[in-house]
């Protein structure tokens, strides 16, 4: 089975946000939200000795994804190819997974009321296309492929050219998005955008925010169903049930 990975060359990246636009157009991401974002790290330093790079942020499809653990409905899951996906049919929009992601890669879509994030354009992969951000990248800075295939470009970039992960002392969960930079760009990214520890709700919070509403919802639904049945029966009359 494949292990999909992305490599972004931050020395090439010019921060043009073509990736964000292509992704948003591909996936109907509402304005103001994004599955992938381009974040400036600077400039830092004193004029005129300055440094800056762009951080192209997205879901890292981590080896040990805390979002999967945080999801109470089972909507967030990891496939055998490593892609972390959200099943919209199961997502209840509780938003628990959002602070659980150390990379802030998730958002609640205000239109669908479901959580959304990068899935490496899984639907495109099935059609044999590369992710939208990779094909459009004006600087040719994004590379995608199978990290278990020694002939793949991402294999060469990770194991040959030393593409790096963005991790912090507290957070080492095996991200599968890697960054290249010959001018110290990954270090600049870590300085400003180091992953934060996942915030996973305690069992008390679970009850308050998921099970309690869910329980009320179910109780309410039962009551509502009975009421509807009752009134329907009233309107239709007993005779119809005899047929």
């Amino acid at each position: 089975m494949a292990r999909y990975a992305m490599v972004t060359d931050l020395t090439r990246c010019v921060g043009c946000e073509a990736c964000t636009a292509a992704c948003s157009a591909e996936w109907d991401v509402p304005p103001g939200h994004a599955r992938t974002r381009v974040l400036p790290t600077g400039p830092v330093g004193e004029f005129p000795r300055l440094r800056a790079a762009f951080y192209v942020a997205q879901c890292n499809h981590c080896d040990r994804p805390p979002c999967v653990e945080a999801c109470p409905s089972g909507a967030t899951f990891q496939g055998p190819d490593g892609i972390v996906k959200i099943d919209p049919k199961l997502c209840i929009g509780c938003g628990y997974c959002i602070p659980a992601c150390p990379y802030d890669a998730r958002y609640l879509n205000p239109v669908t009321q479901k959580v959304d994030k990068c899935d490496f354009c899984a639907a495109r992969l099935e059609r044999g296309q590369l992710p939208a951000c990779v094909t459009t990248c004006t600087a040719h800075a994004k590379f995608f492929g199978d990290l278990e295939d020694p002939n793949s470009e991402v294999y060469r970039l990770v194991y040959g050219r030393g593409a790096e992960r963005i991790e912090s002392d507290e957070v080492k969960i095996g991200p599968n998005v890697y960054y290249l930079g010959t001018r110290g760009e990954p270090a600049l990214v870590r300085e400003k955008f180091a992953p934060h520890p996942p915030q996973i709700p305690s069992s008390g919070q679970w009850w308050e925010r998921v099970f309690k509403p869910l329980a009320f919802l179910m109780a309410g639904a039962t009551f509502l169903g009975q009421a509807i049945a009752f009134f329907t029966q009233l309107r239709k009359g007993e005779s119809q049930f005899d047929e």
Binding site: V14, A25, P31, G32, G42, F47, A139
Partner: protein, 733 residues
């Protein structure tokens, strides 16, 4: 991460999208949909002038997605944010939908919707009237973009020589003149730069990265990845500066001093390409004499750059010769000495032997094209009113001087201009000194705007004609001779025009018919027009339309030239003219001379402006996707300056310029990435057009603060980096 757009905006965007879908009679479905494969149509983009190859996906008559066309020889399937967002302009509910005739006062914005027949009959009657009363020269045309060529034909047939586009006097005019004086040819667009093969790249004010032309970015990144050294000269720490081996935060307006000092180092240390210069150049002795005293120490005092840095960068540039791209820039109308600065850059390019060499400047490969046998255009009785070719001897008579036409309209000299037809540009944002532009419009008897969106100038129009967008129309093909492989690319309709909009070719031809000028439009369909143009190319219409673009073998280097390509250096001497006899004869400096700029007085900052990668000019700010990425601009101020003014990051200010002009409120962004004596903002915001519901009043307009210009005596181009501003705390209701 905080969202960059308010909930109100989102509600507006969804509400208006729903509105659009009702108008269009279909559901807008941007994005991938499961089910039937979509139809794909190849065309080229017009979100900016680069015209990258696109593949538009169409499902149930709607464009659902635009991707790059991998078969396009220049852009190879890559597309910037704007290109990806093109269909959000197509489905912008704020679009102009029907022809409108003004019923209120100019500027009031009260119109009556009329039919195309009524609109065109009305306009034809007005044009006939103006021709009889004042002569055809009294009508001026302000075009921009590829679609304007049909109107250009119409205006020539009508009999006016007065056509001017901002791409000359407000953009790259001085550059093309400066390079033509030196090498015999202008650079043209897309710029013929061999960035991918360069071993050194020099950017002077050019902010590639923030300024995005897809293929140029690809090649720039490729060149850097292959190890090209990068030198960035910019008062601002641009994206490109963050990738530079050397960033030179120059004192604004002193670029010519730096260029002369670089030439001094190269010539005094014998680092020039001697064989190349001996074979192809003239005037080397005069140049050597001219730069003798322009030492790095001298330039250091003017530029505020260390002399050692000037010397070091000169050597680095020379070490990479001839594979050096001195990027000629694009928007170069800064200080009024812009043709001479372009000359200095061209001369430096010549010293490095980079013109026509791998990794340098590519040579043009001609692409033949077919023509209809048109009747000769009537000879205008009066010459151009804008001074091109006369008061401004080197201005292009093909492209004209926009601001010269504004001047003529205002003063009535050399003769009155009474009608304007504006196509594809917004004169209130593209031309500086907007008070003059507005005053000129007030004197007009006829103001016509052909546009996509209700931009501010439409409020002042007598007649507004709603054009179909680039995704709904045919335009002349994009023929590029300045790429390593020259090519031809089609612009064809992807979907039928929405609302009651019409393609430019149809509008121009219908108008021609009503004016009795149909002889200049001898084709019945766009296909017929295209077939004639591609006649000599030996390709079929069907193949071109299916593939989107077809390329040919290029001969971009000196050694690959063939006789049919014409002379290598079509100057008067047939050589590269380091020393320009023509300039001498015209009474101008035959070699570039540095003249110190006026610095801002204490308490004032020089206003600089530029681009953001997700917007084009002032025309993409209402696009839902792009506005989501960047809804408004900010003003960059150095923290030291901010302290002096008592300002903090995130504060709202109004900018006031030296003439008391004030901007709309704008947010301060404090950053060490700008010199303390400058302020910077992205162009195109602060629009005052209520019809643009998303963009109206967001951010501040740099253009509203450009009330002073420094006019280039050679080209009439308006230098606009000569305005000073101070930030005042904003009082917002």
């Amino acid at each position: 991460m905080s969202s960059r757009i308010s909930r109100r905006d989102w509600l507006l965007s969804t509400a208006t999208l729903a509105g659009a879908s009702r108008e269009a009679g279909a559901t807008p479905t941007p994005g991938q949909r499961a089910g039937k494969p979509a139809l794909q149509v190849a065309s080229n983009c017009e979100m900016c002038f680069w015209r990258c190859g696109i593949l538009a996906k169409v499902q149930d008559g709607k464009v659902t997605r635009i991707e790059g066309n991998p078969q396009h020889p220049l852009t190879q399937g890559r597309l910037c944010a704007r290109g990806n967002a093109g269909h959000f302009t197509l489905y912008d509910p704020d679009r102009l939908k029907r022809p409108q005739l003004r019923v209120g006062e100019r500027g009031e914005g009260r119109f009556r919707e009329i039919s195309w027949d009524e609109a065109l009959d009305w306009l034809a009657a007005r044009l006939t009237e103006l021709k009889e009363k004042y002569g055809p020269e009294s009508v001026a045309f302000f075009p921009h973009g590829v679609g304007s060529s049909f109107f250009a034909t119409l205006m020539k047939a009508y009999g006016t020589p007065n056509s001017a586009e901002p791409s000359f006097a407000q953009c790259r005019g001085p550059r093309d003149v400066g390079y033509a004086l030196t090498f015999g040819r202008p650079l043209g667009s897309p710029e013929p730069l061999d960035l991918a093969n360069a071993r050194a790249i020099v950017l002077i004010g050019s902010h590639l990265g923030e300024n995005v032309f897809t293929s140029q970015i690809t090649q720039f990144a490729e060149g850097l990845a292959r190890g090209a050294r990068l030198i960035v000269v910019d008062p601002r720490f641009s994206t490109a500066a963050s990738k530079a081996d050397w960033w030179l935060p120059i004192r604004p307006g002193t670029d010519i001093a730096l260029l002369l000092a670089w030439m001094h180092v190269i010539l005094s240390e014998g680092l020039e390409d001697k064989a190349y210069l001996a074979a192809y150049a003239t005037g080397l002795d005069q140049l050597r004499e001219h730069v003798r005293n322009f030492t790095p120490e001298w330039a250091s005092r003017e530029t505020e750059l260390p002399a050692g840095l000037i010397r070091e960068t000169a050597r680095a540039i020379a070490a990479a010769k001839p594979a050096v791209v001195i990027h000629p820039g694009r928007h170069v109308t800064w200080y009024g000495d812009d043709t001479q600065r372009a000359r200095a850059m061209a001369i430096l390019t010549a010293l490095l032997g980079a013109w026509g060499r791998k990794g340098g400047i590519l040579l043009r490969t001609p692409v033949p094209r077919g023509h209809f046998d048109l009747p000769p255009f009537p000879e205008p009785k009066r010459g151009r009113a804008d001074g091109a070719g006369d008061r401004y001897p080197l201005a292009s008579e093909e492209q004209g001087i926009t601001t010269g036409l504004v001047e003529a309209t205002l003063t009535g000299r050399p003769y009155p201009i009474k009608g304007w037809i504006v196509y594809g540009q917004n004169v209130l944002e593209s031309l500086p000194q907007r008070e003059r532009t507005l005053a000129a419009i007030a004197r007009l008897e006829l103001m016509v705007v052909v546009d996509i969106l209700p931009v501010e100038q439409t409020l002042y129009a007598d007649l507004v004609l709603p054009e179909a967008t680039y995704l709904e129309r045919y335009d002349p093909p994009h023929i590029v001779e300045t790429a390593a492989r020259p090519f031809i690319a089609v612009r064809q309709p992807v979907v039928a025009p929405l609302y009651d909009t019409r393609p430019g070719w149809w509008i121009a031809r219908e108008l021609a018919r009503r004016l009795g000028l149909e002889a200049w439009f001898p084709w019945r369909t766009p296909d017929e027009h295209l077939a004639k143009i591609i006649e000599p190319l030996g390709i079929s219409l069907k193949e071109l339309k299916a593939r989107g673009a077809v390329s040919f073998e290029g001969r971009p280097y000196i050694e690959s030239r063939k006789p049919e390509d014409g002379p290598l250096f079509p100057t008067e001497s047939g050589k590269i003219e380091l020393y320009s006899k023509l300039l001498k004869e015209l009474g101008h400096d035959p070699l570039p001379v540095y003249r110190p700029p006026a610095d801002p007085p204490p308490g004032w900052l020089r206003l600089l402006y530029g681009r953001a990668p997700v917007h084009s000019f002032a025309r993409s700010q209402n696009n839902a996707l792009l506005a989501g990425l960047m809804p408004e601009n900010a003003v960059w101020i150095n923290p030291q300056t901010a302290r002096a003014f008592g300002l903090h990051d995130g504060q709202r200010v109004v900018l006031e310029n030296q003439d008391g002009r004030k901007s709309l409120p704008v947010t301060v962004r404090t950053t060490p990435g700008i010199r303390p004596d400058c302020a910077f903002m992205v162009h195109g915001f602060g629009l005052r057009a209520p019809g643009l519901r998303r963009a109206n009043g967001r951010g501040a307009s740099d253009n509203a603060l450009l009330s002073r210009v420094a006019t280039d005596p050679l080209t009439g181009a308006t230098g606009m980096h000569v305005n000073f501003v101070r930030p005042l705390p904003a009082e917002e209701s």
